[in-house]
Protein backbone atom coordinates (compact mmCIF):
# COMPACT_ATOMS: atom_id res chain seq x y z
CA UNK A 1 0.00 0.00 0.00
CA UNK A 2 1.41 3.42 -0.79
CA UNK A 3 1.76 6.14 1.80
CA UNK A 4 -0.35 8.81 0.09
CA UNK A 5 -3.23 6.39 -0.17
CA UNK A 6 -2.83 5.51 3.49
CA UNK A 7 -2.81 9.14 4.61
CA UNK A 8 -5.79 9.90 2.38
CA UNK A 9 -7.90 7.26 4.23
CA UNK A 10 -10.21 6.75 1.28
CA UNK A 11 -11.19 10.44 1.38
CA UNK A 12 -12.01 10.40 5.10
CA UNK A 13 -8.63 11.72 6.29
CA UNK A 14 -10.23 14.86 7.74
CA UNK A 15 -12.28 12.70 10.12
CA UNK A 16 -10.12 9.64 10.79
CA UNK A 17 -6.88 11.42 11.73
CA UNK A 18 -8.39 14.04 14.06
CA UNK A 19 -10.22 11.30 15.95
CA UNK A 20 -6.94 9.42 16.47
CA UNK A 21 -5.25 12.66 17.54
CA UNK A 22 -8.03 13.27 20.10
CA UNK A 23 -7.68 9.74 21.50
CA UNK A 24 -3.89 9.90 21.71
CA UNK A 25 -4.04 13.34 23.32
CA UNK A 26 -6.44 11.98 25.95
CA UNK A 27 -4.13 9.01 26.63
CA UNK A 28 -1.00 11.16 26.95
CA UNK A 29 -2.87 13.82 28.93
CA UNK A 30 -4.00 11.17 31.41
CA UNK A 31 -0.44 10.03 32.09
CA UNK A 32 0.82 13.61 32.48
CA UNK A 33 -2.08 14.67 34.72
CA UNK A 34 -1.91 11.56 36.93
CA UNK A 35 1.83 11.97 37.45
CA UNK A 36 1.41 15.67 38.26
CA UNK A 37 -1.36 14.84 40.74
CA UNK A 38 0.85 12.25 42.46
CA UNK A 39 3.78 14.66 42.59
CA UNK A 40 1.60 17.33 44.22
CA UNK A 41 0.38 14.82 46.81
CA UNK A 42 3.96 13.82 47.62
CA UNK A 43 5.01 17.45 48.09
CA UNK A 44 2.02 18.16 50.34
CA UNK A 45 2.58 14.99 52.38
CA UNK A 46 6.25 15.80 52.90
CA UNK A 47 5.35 19.30 54.05
CA UNK A 48 2.83 17.85 56.53
CA UNK A 49 5.33 15.29 57.79
CA UNK A 50 7.93 18.01 58.30
CA UNK A 51 5.41 20.21 60.12
CA UNK A 52 4.53 17.34 62.46
CA UNK A 53 8.14 16.63 63.39
CA UNK A 54 9.20 20.20 64.15
Amino acid sequence: MNLVEFINMGGYAAFVWPSYVVALAVLIGNVVAARASHRRAVAEALRRAQGASS
Binding site: V26, A33, H38
Partner: protein
Protein backbone atom coordinates in the same frame (compact mmCIF):
# COMPACT_ATOMS: atom_id res chain seq x y z
CA UNK B 1 -8.09 -13.97 52.86
CA UNK B 2 -9.33 -11.24 55.20
CA UNK B 3 -5.94 -10.60 56.74
CA UNK B 4 -4.51 -10.33 53.24
CA UNK B 5 -7.28 -7.90 52.33
CA UNK B 6 -6.72 -5.75 55.40
CA UNK B 7 -3.01 -5.71 54.78
CA UNK B 8 -3.53 -4.58 51.20
CA UNK B 9 -5.90 -1.85 52.36
CA UNK B 10 -3.37 -0.50 54.84
CA UNK B 11 -2.00 2.70 53.31
CA UNK B 12 1.76 2.02 53.47
CA UNK B 13 1.37 -1.47 52.05
CA UNK B 14 -0.99 -0.32 49.32
CA UNK B 15 1.30 2.55 48.40
CA UNK B 16 4.22 0.19 47.89
CA UNK B 17 2.34 -2.59 46.07
CA UNK B 18 0.59 -0.10 43.76
CA UNK B 19 3.93 1.43 42.89
CA UNK B 20 5.25 -1.97 41.87
CA UNK B 21 2.14 -2.86 39.85
CA UNK B 22 2.03 0.27 37.65
CA UNK B 23 4.58 -0.90 35.03
CA UNK B 24 2.89 -4.33 34.90
CA UNK B 25 -0.27 -2.63 33.63
CA UNK B 26 1.37 0.25 31.80
CA UNK B 27 3.70 -1.62 29.47
CA UNK B 28 1.23 -4.29 28.28
CA UNK B 29 -1.24 -1.44 27.71
CA UNK B 30 1.32 0.43 25.61
CA UNK B 31 2.15 -2.64 23.53
CA UNK B 32 -1.52 -3.54 23.00
CA UNK B 33 -2.44 0.00 21.95
CA UNK B 34 0.44 0.29 19.47
CA UNK B 35 -0.30 -3.17 18.03
CA UNK B 36 -3.99 -2.44 17.62
CA UNK B 37 -3.23 0.93 16.00
CA UNK B 38 -1.34 -1.03 13.36
CA UNK B 39 -4.05 -3.67 13.11
CA UNK B 40 -6.85 -1.12 12.90
CA UNK B 41 -5.25 1.43 10.58
CA UNK B 42 -3.25 -0.88 8.31
CA UNK B 43 -4.23 -4.55 8.50
CA UNK B 44 -8.02 -4.28 8.76
CA UNK B 45 -9.76 -3.94 5.37
CA UNK B 46 -12.00 -0.92 4.68
CA UNK B 47 -15.66 -1.42 5.57
CA UNK B 48 -17.88 -2.24 2.58
CA UNK B 49 -20.36 0.51 3.52
CA UNK B 50 -18.32 3.08 5.42
CA UNK B 51 -14.97 2.75 3.67
CA UNK B 52 -12.04 3.91 5.78
CA UNK B 53 -14.23 6.11 8.00
CA UNK B 54 -15.13 2.99 9.99
CA UNK B 55 -11.57 2.98 11.39
CA UNK B 56 -12.72 5.63 13.86
CA UNK B 57 -14.30 2.69 15.71
CA UNK B 58 -10.86 1.72 17.06
CA UNK B 59 -10.66 4.86 19.16
CA UNK B 60 -14.37 5.61 19.54
CA UNK B 61 -15.71 2.30 20.89
CA UNK B 62 -12.86 1.72 23.40
CA UNK B 63 -13.26 5.31 24.69
CA UNK B 64 -17.01 4.83 25.05
CA UNK B 65 -16.44 1.49 26.81
CA UNK B 66 -13.99 3.12 29.22
CA UNK B 67 -16.42 5.97 29.96
CA UNK B 68 -18.97 3.43 31.22
CA UNK B 69 -16.57 0.96 32.82
CA UNK B 70 -14.79 3.69 34.81
CA UNK B 71 -18.12 5.06 36.03
CA UNK B 72 -19.12 1.63 37.35
CA UNK B 73 -15.74 1.25 39.09
CA UNK B 74 -16.17 4.74 40.56
CA UNK B 75 -19.72 4.11 41.82
CA UNK B 76 -18.81 0.71 43.29
CA UNK B 77 -15.77 2.12 45.07
CA UNK B 78 -17.85 5.02 46.37
CA UNK B 79 -20.45 2.55 47.69
CA UNK B 80 -17.78 0.42 49.38
CA UNK B 81 -16.25 3.55 50.91
CA UNK B 82 -19.62 4.71 52.15
CA UNK B 83 -20.75 1.37 53.60
CA UNK B 84 -17.49 0.14 55.15
CA UNK B 85 -15.96 3.58 55.76
CA UNK B 86 -12.93 2.55 53.82
CA UNK B 87 -10.59 5.40 52.95
CA UNK B 88 -8.86 3.47 50.18
CA UNK B 89 -12.18 2.92 48.37
CA UNK B 90 -12.92 6.64 48.50
CA UNK B 91 -9.42 7.29 47.17
CA UNK B 92 -10.16 4.99 44.22
CA UNK B 93 -13.50 6.68 43.50
CA UNK B 94 -11.96 10.15 43.59
CA UNK B 95 -9.19 9.02 41.24
CA UNK B 96 -11.62 7.55 38.70
CA UNK B 97 -13.48 10.79 37.96
CA UNK B 98 -10.93 12.78 35.92
CA UNK B 99 -9.91 9.69 33.95
CA UNK B 100 -13.53 8.80 33.22
CA UNK B 101 -14.35 12.36 32.22
CA UNK B 102 -11.45 12.41 29.75
CA UNK B 103 -12.59 9.18 28.08
CA UNK B 104 -16.18 10.43 27.94
CA UNK B 105 -14.89 13.53 26.17
CA UNK B 106 -12.90 11.32 23.77
CA UNK B 107 -16.00 9.20 23.04
CA UNK B 108 -18.09 12.31 22.30
CA UNK B 109 -15.40 14.00 20.17
CA UNK B 110 -14.56 10.92 18.10
CA UNK B 111 -18.28 10.22 17.79
CA UNK B 112 -18.84 13.69 16.34
CA UNK B 113 -15.96 13.11 13.90
CA UNK B 114 -17.63 9.86 12.86
CA UNK B 115 -21.14 11.29 12.74
CA UNK B 116 -20.30 14.09 10.34
CA UNK B 117 -19.24 11.89 7.37
CA UNK B 118 -21.74 9.08 8.10
CA UNK B 119 -24.89 10.90 9.24
CA UNK B 120 -24.11 14.35 7.84
CA UNK B 121 -24.14 15.94 11.30
CA UNK B 122 -21.71 16.38 14.18
CA UNK B 123 -24.41 16.08 16.77
CA UNK B 124 -28.02 14.98 17.21
CA UNK B 125 -30.04 15.07 20.41
CA UNK B 126 -30.81 11.38 20.29
CA UNK B 127 -30.88 8.95 23.21
CA UNK B 128 -27.34 7.57 22.95
CA UNK B 129 -25.58 10.88 22.42
CA UNK B 130 -27.61 12.77 25.00
CA UNK B 131 -27.17 10.13 27.71
CA UNK B 132 -23.40 10.04 27.03
CA UNK B 133 -23.30 13.84 27.37
CA UNK B 134 -25.13 13.51 30.71
CA UNK B 135 -22.39 11.06 31.76
CA UNK B 136 -19.79 13.76 31.10
CA UNK B 137 -21.79 16.19 33.25
CA UNK B 138 -22.03 13.54 36.01
CA UNK B 139 -18.23 13.20 36.06
CA UNK B 140 -17.76 16.98 36.03
CA UNK B 141 -20.44 17.47 38.69
CA UNK B 142 -18.76 14.85 40.88
CA UNK B 143 -15.40 16.62 40.52
CA UNK B 144 -16.93 20.05 41.16
CA UNK B 145 -18.71 18.76 44.27
CA UNK B 146 -15.47 17.32 45.63
CA UNK B 147 -13.57 20.51 44.90
CA UNK B 148 -16.20 22.60 46.69
CA UNK B 149 -15.90 20.75 50.02
CA UNK B 150 -12.78 21.54 51.99
CA UNK B 151 -12.93 18.60 54.43
CA UNK B 152 -11.73 15.47 52.61
CA UNK B 153 -13.92 13.02 54.55
CA UNK B 154 -17.06 15.05 53.97
CA UNK B 155 -16.13 15.45 50.29
CA UNK B 156 -15.71 11.67 50.05
CA UNK B 157 -19.14 10.98 51.52
CA UNK B 158 -21.10 13.65 49.67
CA UNK B 159 -19.57 12.84 46.30
CA UNK B 160 -20.09 9.11 46.89
CA UNK B 161 -23.85 9.66 47.08
CA UNK B 162 -23.78 11.53 43.76
CA UNK B 163 -21.68 8.79 42.13
CA UNK B 164 -24.07 6.05 43.32
CA UNK B 165 -27.23 7.87 42.21
CA UNK B 166 -25.67 8.61 38.82
CA UNK B 167 -25.01 4.94 38.08
CA UNK B 168 -28.61 4.69 36.84
CA UNK B 169 -27.36 6.46 33.70
CA UNK B 170 -25.04 3.56 32.77
CA UNK B 171 -27.70 1.00 31.71
CA UNK B 172 -29.62 3.84 30.04
CA UNK B 173 -26.60 4.61 27.84
CA UNK B 174 -25.95 0.96 27.12
CA UNK B 175 -29.50 0.08 26.12
CA UNK B 176 -30.36 3.46 24.56
CA UNK B 177 -29.73 2.14 21.05
CA UNK B 178 -32.12 -0.75 21.70
CA UNK B 179 -34.86 1.05 23.64
CA UNK B 180 -35.14 4.13 21.45
CA UNK B 181 -35.03 4.73 17.77
CA UNK B 182 -31.69 6.43 17.25
CA UNK B 183 -29.20 7.32 14.55
CA UNK B 184 -26.47 5.54 16.47
CA UNK B 185 -25.77 2.07 15.15
CA UNK B 186 -26.45 -0.98 17.32
CA UNK B 187 -23.48 -2.63 19.05
CA UNK B 188 -21.47 -4.83 16.71
CA UNK B 189 -19.37 -6.68 19.29
CA UNK B 190 -21.56 -7.60 22.27
CA UNK B 191 -24.51 -8.77 20.23
CA UNK B 192 -25.81 -12.19 21.25
CA UNK B 193 -24.46 -14.96 19.08
CA UNK B 194 -22.02 -14.01 16.37
CA UNK B 195 -20.68 -10.47 16.32
CA UNK B 196 -21.63 -8.61 13.15
CA UNK B 197 -18.05 -7.72 12.30
CA UNK B 198 -15.33 -9.73 10.59
CA UNK B 199 -12.37 -11.19 12.49
CA UNK B 200 -9.65 -8.98 10.99
CA UNK B 201 -11.71 -5.95 12.02
CA UNK B 202 -12.71 -7.37 15.40
CA UNK B 203 -9.31 -8.47 16.74
CA UNK B 204 -7.71 -4.98 16.76
CA UNK B 205 -10.86 -3.61 18.39
CA UNK B 206 -10.78 -6.16 21.22
CA UNK B 207 -7.04 -5.59 21.66
CA UNK B 208 -7.58 -1.83 21.84
CA UNK B 209 -10.36 -2.28 24.43
CA UNK B 210 -8.06 -4.48 26.54
CA UNK B 211 -5.21 -2.00 26.06
CA UNK B 212 -7.37 0.94 27.17
CA UNK B 213 -8.57 -1.04 30.21
CA UNK B 214 -5.00 -1.86 31.30
CA UNK B 215 -4.02 1.75 30.62
CA UNK B 216 -6.82 2.85 32.94
CA UNK B 217 -5.56 0.50 35.65
CA UNK B 218 -2.04 1.97 35.42
CA UNK B 219 -3.18 5.61 35.46
CA UNK B 220 -5.67 4.85 38.24
CA UNK B 221 -2.93 3.39 40.43
CA UNK B 222 -0.76 6.49 39.92
CA UNK B 223 -3.66 8.71 41.01
CA UNK B 224 -4.76 6.48 43.92
CA UNK B 225 -1.24 6.56 45.36
CA UNK B 226 -1.54 10.34 45.49
CA UNK B 227 -5.03 10.20 47.00
CA UNK B 228 -3.83 7.75 49.66
CA UNK B 229 -1.09 10.22 50.63
CA UNK B 230 -3.65 13.03 50.85
CA UNK B 231 -5.66 11.01 53.36
CA UNK B 232 -2.66 10.05 55.44
CA UNK B 233 -1.98 11.84 58.71
CA UNK B 234 0.75 9.61 60.06
CA UNK B 235 4.04 11.41 59.54
CA UNK B 236 5.97 8.23 60.28
CA UNK B 237 4.84 6.21 57.30
CA UNK B 238 4.83 9.19 54.94
CA UNK B 239 8.52 9.58 55.66
CA UNK B 240 9.03 5.83 55.39
CA UNK B 241 7.10 5.48 52.13
CA UNK B 242 8.67 8.47 50.45
CA UNK B 243 12.23 7.90 51.54
CA UNK B 244 12.23 4.35 50.15
Amino acid sequence: MWTWFHKLASPPHFYRVAGMLIPWFGWPAFILIVASLYGGLVLAPPDYQQGDAFRIIYVHAPSAWMSLFIYVVMAMSAAIGLIWRMKLAHAVAASCAPIGASFTFAALATGALWGQPMWGTWWVWDARLTSELILLFLYLGYMALRASIEDLQRADRASAVLAIVGVINVPIIHYSVVWWNTLHQAPSVTKMGAPTISTSMLVPLLMMILGFTLFFAAVLLIRVRGEVLRRERSAVWIREALSA
